[in-house]
């Protein structure tokens, strides 16, 4: 089911100051996709989610879930959360401690006064789906973090909602479990063909899970795109910087050539993607991600090739994290653990024109 948000405004006042948590947000979330709201804390992503669910009342604008108008300031419409027919997984899971697994999961069906047999059947089915069969009578307080997370997911899915919302559901799990659960969640959601709205501040989570990512900052949506496009060729400097580690190098556009441009920078001329079509002579930033910087002992004649020096090299287990100096500029890179460079070595640096891109400054 599609969700449409028009001109949504939500303002908080705190210590006499007005804070715009949502600053005239317009957004269409397509049906049956995994849509992620990504941004630093305080950017308004959770507020937006809570407004969609109905736990928070916006100050202005309209929200449609499918064809139904659930909130409108002008038309004075507010559909309470219990009548929006959504499923939600909370950050703290919000599993009711006084109920067992069955009652927690059956709750949404019990509110609909469904027949007991029907409830039992549906709960069994959804518990099987999240691989918790046999845990029905376990008290909610006797579950591990991962199991609580699945109970929360089962509870959100059991009434077969058309839309399911996630508020940082993995942030309370430890690193290893988080990775596993992320994969599981991805396969669950793909299997279900359901609209999922996912809020997170973790860029890896966003990239790994989403069909579409919306990056937010100070109550505004900066960019909506597919994960690859966001990572490799973002439209905005903020997004490029936020979504991963990036080297940003200042310079001016010297020559235009279709998708590409030649960019006069501090380290010399660079051929790079110019999908924003930044015009000739304009000041801009070049963005190169550390993992796309290639190092070699000998310099070969190719595009975007420079001489530099290894400034620092730190072993971090899966790789080296290096800083390479080219003139006055320091570039962060990731170096394979098998490479035999040392600090102080002179070195050849290169990167593919398709793996670096220009950003308007």
């Amino acid at each position: 089911m599609e969700i449409r948000i028009q001109d949504l405004v939500r303002t908080y006042s705190s210590e006499g100051k007005q804070i715009k948590a949502l600053d005239h947000v317009d957004l269409t979330i397509p049906a049956n996709r995994i849509f992620t709201l990504l941004g630093p804390s305080g950017c308004g992503k959770t507020t937006l989610l809570r407004c969609i669910v109905g736990l928070e009342v916006p100050d202005g604008g309209e929200i449609y879930i499918g064809d139904e108008l659930v909130w409108s300031k002008e038309k004075n419409i507010f559909v309470p959360p219990e009548r929006r027919g959504l499923g939600m997984v909370f950050q703290t899971y919000a599993i009711w401690p006084h109920m067992n697994v069955f009652d927690n999961v059956a709750y949404p069906l019990q509110t609909q006064k469904m027949a007991k047999e029907e409830i039992r059947r549906k709960v069994a089915k959804v518990l099987d789906f999240v691989q918790l069969s046999g845990y029905e009578n376990r008290p909610a307080t006797k579950l591990s973090g991962g199991q609580q997370q699945r109970v929360a997911l089962a509870r959100a899915l059991v009434a077969e909602p058309k839309v399911i919302l996630f508020d940082e559901p993995l942030s309370n799990l430890d690193a290893k479990l988080r990775e596993e659960t992320r994969k599981e969640l991805r396969s669950f959601l793909t299997e279900l063909q359901i609209t999922a709205i996912y809020v997170t501040h973790d860029r890896v989570e966003a990239l790994a899970l989403s069909d579409l990512i919306a990056v937010m900052r100070s109550g505004k949506i900066i960019e909506i795109n597919e994960p690859k496009k966001i990572y490799f060729n973002s439209d905005s400097q903020f997004v490029a910087d936020f979504i991963g580690r990036a080297n940003l190098i200042r310079g001016t556009v010297e020559e235009l050539d279709g998708d590409h441009a030649v960019f006069a920078s501090e380290i010399g001329p660079v051929r790079a993607l110019n999908s924003q079509q930044i015009p000739l002579g304009q000041e801009a930033f070049l963005c190169v991600r550390p993992e796309f910087i290639r190092l070699a002992k000998e310099r070969k004649e190719e595009q975007n090739s420079y001489s530099g020096k290894v400034e620092t090299l730190i072993f971090i287990g899966e790789a080296f994290e290096g800083e390479i100096r080219i003139g006055e500029t320091l570039l962060t890179t990731t170096v394979e653990p098998t490479a035999d460079f040392r600090e102080g070595d002179s070195i050849a640096v290169s990167f593919d024109p398709d793996h670096c891109f220009l950003l308007a400054s």
Partner: protein, 561 residues
């Protein structure tokens, strides 16, 4: 969502009436000549009250009594808390008992049992002492300021302990360790580091005990009055209990000074506890302090703590039971055992007034605590879950009555009820009880509400539960433990209530504690003891039933399918 402001306002009106009405009526009453001429301004009562030549003595007595009790209770609590949290003394469960159980023994019975032990003419301990040393001098005369301080200090020990013990265990031990590393001895560390850091908690405890003993009526009436030692609370009582010449205007004028003193002290207490939050350092690492090894001191200390818990818990009940079986008070002997019978019990159970007081107290305990708990649920909900200026006002209002001395509030309510048809009814007593003991219901309930994280409600709403459905399936079941402990606290307070009741109780609305006071005044110690034991049994029974019901309810949710 749209009803919340009106709920807050309604509660502010109810709680505001309950707490402020007696104060306002007290103030107005103190400027009136009598009930009939209410509203005609006169300062004659103030002049009469404060030019009374006895008043200076009463004031001095009050100061000695309250400060003495505070010293007694606080020093004892400090000792117990230190021994419990910082030494390797065995059998530490005793401390939990010492800190909680004495609250279950009504103050008037505790005072009465000490009178039975230490009164100068036939106190059991005094008699034993006289027989042992063949003297006519009593060991200790309880009918003195010393005696009052002894009993009141023991009664307030749990309160002092509950303030000092947490501060002691939250204390960052590295402060002490660094003092020891610097070369200071254990004793020097105690006096130079530990006690100074704990100062706010110690002061807070002392002030709270002063407030409690200022409001205390059981000890001054049972222990003080027979020795003609009057403090403010008994002075007020004297002015309203003297049959035909009861002067509620004078009582109100005297009461104003107790009220002002009490409110001031509570204000200081609040300030100090806010300060102590900054002062006492809680280390985030949950490590246990190294315990001081007592070695040869272990067993002497254990004996002291053992005697103390015996004196606080078992002795009063034993003395009462023993005396209830005897025709008159005497030390244990072959003769005493040969005279034992159930006569006192039979007389009490055939005494219509005792039976009426039993019925009235049970009614007030069960119905009053239920109504009080319902009010507390709403008030706690607004205080914890709706954080607005109005809910802040409600919070201050609902804890205000904590600082009001009961007998003074009783006089204030008297000025109010005498103008309504409620005068001399159980309803009047119930309104007074709920007003005075509301904080006892609100405290456990607001901590229960704090534990119910808002997402537990929100997830129910998203799952399709309406606000009412959410209340029934999620909030109420999670609140049950808080409701049960609030109910138990209120019910046991109401069952034993004395200070408010001595003012408001009228023929027909006698309650247990007042009836026990009458027995004490008439020297009917055997019947007093029998009725007292019945009172303790009933309140223990109520506590047990409530606890059982509570555990039934919280399991119900799982069974219901």
């Amino acid at each position: 969502m749209f009803k919340k402001p009106t709920l807050t306002t309604t509660l502010i009106i109810i709680v505001g009436f309950l707490t402020l009405c007696p104060v306002i009526m007290l103030l107005l009453g103190s400027f009136s000549k009598d009930f009939v001429s209410f509203g005609q301004f006169t300062t004659s009562k103030y002049i009469a009250a404060y030019t009374d030549p006895d008043f200076a003595d009463i004031l001095v007595n009050t100061v000695i009594f309250t400060v003495g009790s505070a010293l007694h209770a606080t020093l004892l609590a400090l000792f117990l808390a230190y021994v419990n949290t910082r030494t390797d003394l065995p059998f530490k469960f005793i401390f939990k008992i010492i800190s909680i159980i004495p609250m279950m023994i009504p103050h008037i019975l505790f005072s009465a049992s000490w009178v039975l032990l230490l009164n100068p003419s036939n106190g059991i301990l005094n008699r034993l002492f006289m027989n042992l040393f063949e003297t006519r001098e009593a060991l200790f005369n309880i009918y003195s300021l010393k005696g009052m301080i002894l009993v009141e200090g023991l009664l307030d020990l749990p309160i002092a302990y509950l303030i000092i013990a947490p501060a002691m265990s939250a204390f960052d031990v590295s402060l002490e360790e660094s003092s020891k590393v610097c070369g200071a001895s254990n004793l020097r560390t105690l006096f130079k580091v530990t006690l100074p850091v704990l100062r706010p908690a110690i002061l807070a405890s002392a002030i709270l005990v002063i407030v409690r003993s200022l409001a205390s009526f059981a000890v001054p009436s049972v222990v003080g009055m027979p020795g003609r030692i009057y403090v403010l609370s008994t002075h007020i009582y004297r002015n309203i209990s003297s049959g035909f010449a009861a002067d509620y205007g004078l009582a109100a004028a005297i009461g104003m000074s107790a009220l002002v003193a009490s409110i001031t002290l509570i204000y200081v207490y609040r300030y100090l506890t806010a300060e102590s939050g900054k002062f006492v350092t809680i280390s985030s690492r949950g490590f246990k302090p190294t315990l001081l090894r007592l070695k040869k001191w272990k067993y002497p200390l254990l004996v002291i703590v053992g005697i103390l818990s015996f004196v606080l818990i078992l002795l009063p009940v034993l003395v009462l039971f023993y005396i209830s079986m005897l025709p008159y008070s005497m030390p244990p002997s072959a003769r005493a055992f040969s005279l034992m019978s159930w006569n006192n019990w039979i007389e009490v159970l055939n005494d219509p007034i005792s039976l009426l007081s039993l019925k009235n107290s049970l009614f007030l305990g069960v119905v009053g605590a239920t109504l009080g708990t319902i009010l507390s649920i709403f008030v706690s909900y607004v205080i914890v879950k709706i954080r607005t200026t109005a809910s802040g006002i409600l919070e201050s209002l609902s804890f205000l009555s904590f600082s009001f001395p009961g007998i003074v509030i009783g006089v204030g309510f008297m000025w109010f009820f005498v103008r309504t048809p409620l005068y001399g009814t159980l309803t009047a007593l119930m309104i007074g009880y709920i007003a005075t003991y509301l904080p006892y219901g609100i405290r456990p309930l607001s901590s229960a509400f704090i534990q119910i994280h808002s997402t537990l409600e929100e997830s129910s709403r998203v799952c399709g539960g309406s606000p009412f459905y959410t209340l029934r399936r999620v909030i109420i079941p999670l609140l049950i433990p808080g409701i049960v402990s609030g109910w138990i606290l209120m019910a046991s307070m109401f069952l034993r209530e004395l200070t408010l009741s001595v003012v408001l109780s009228r023929p027909g609305t006698e309650v247990l504690a007042v009836q026990i006071l009458r027995f004490a005044e008439d020297g009917l110690w055997g019947r007093l003891s029998a009725l007292g034991i019945i009172m303790i049994l009933i309140s223990s029974l109520l506590v047990i039933i409530a606890a059982l019901l509570g555990s039934r309810f919280s399991k119900l949710e799982v069974v219901d399918r």
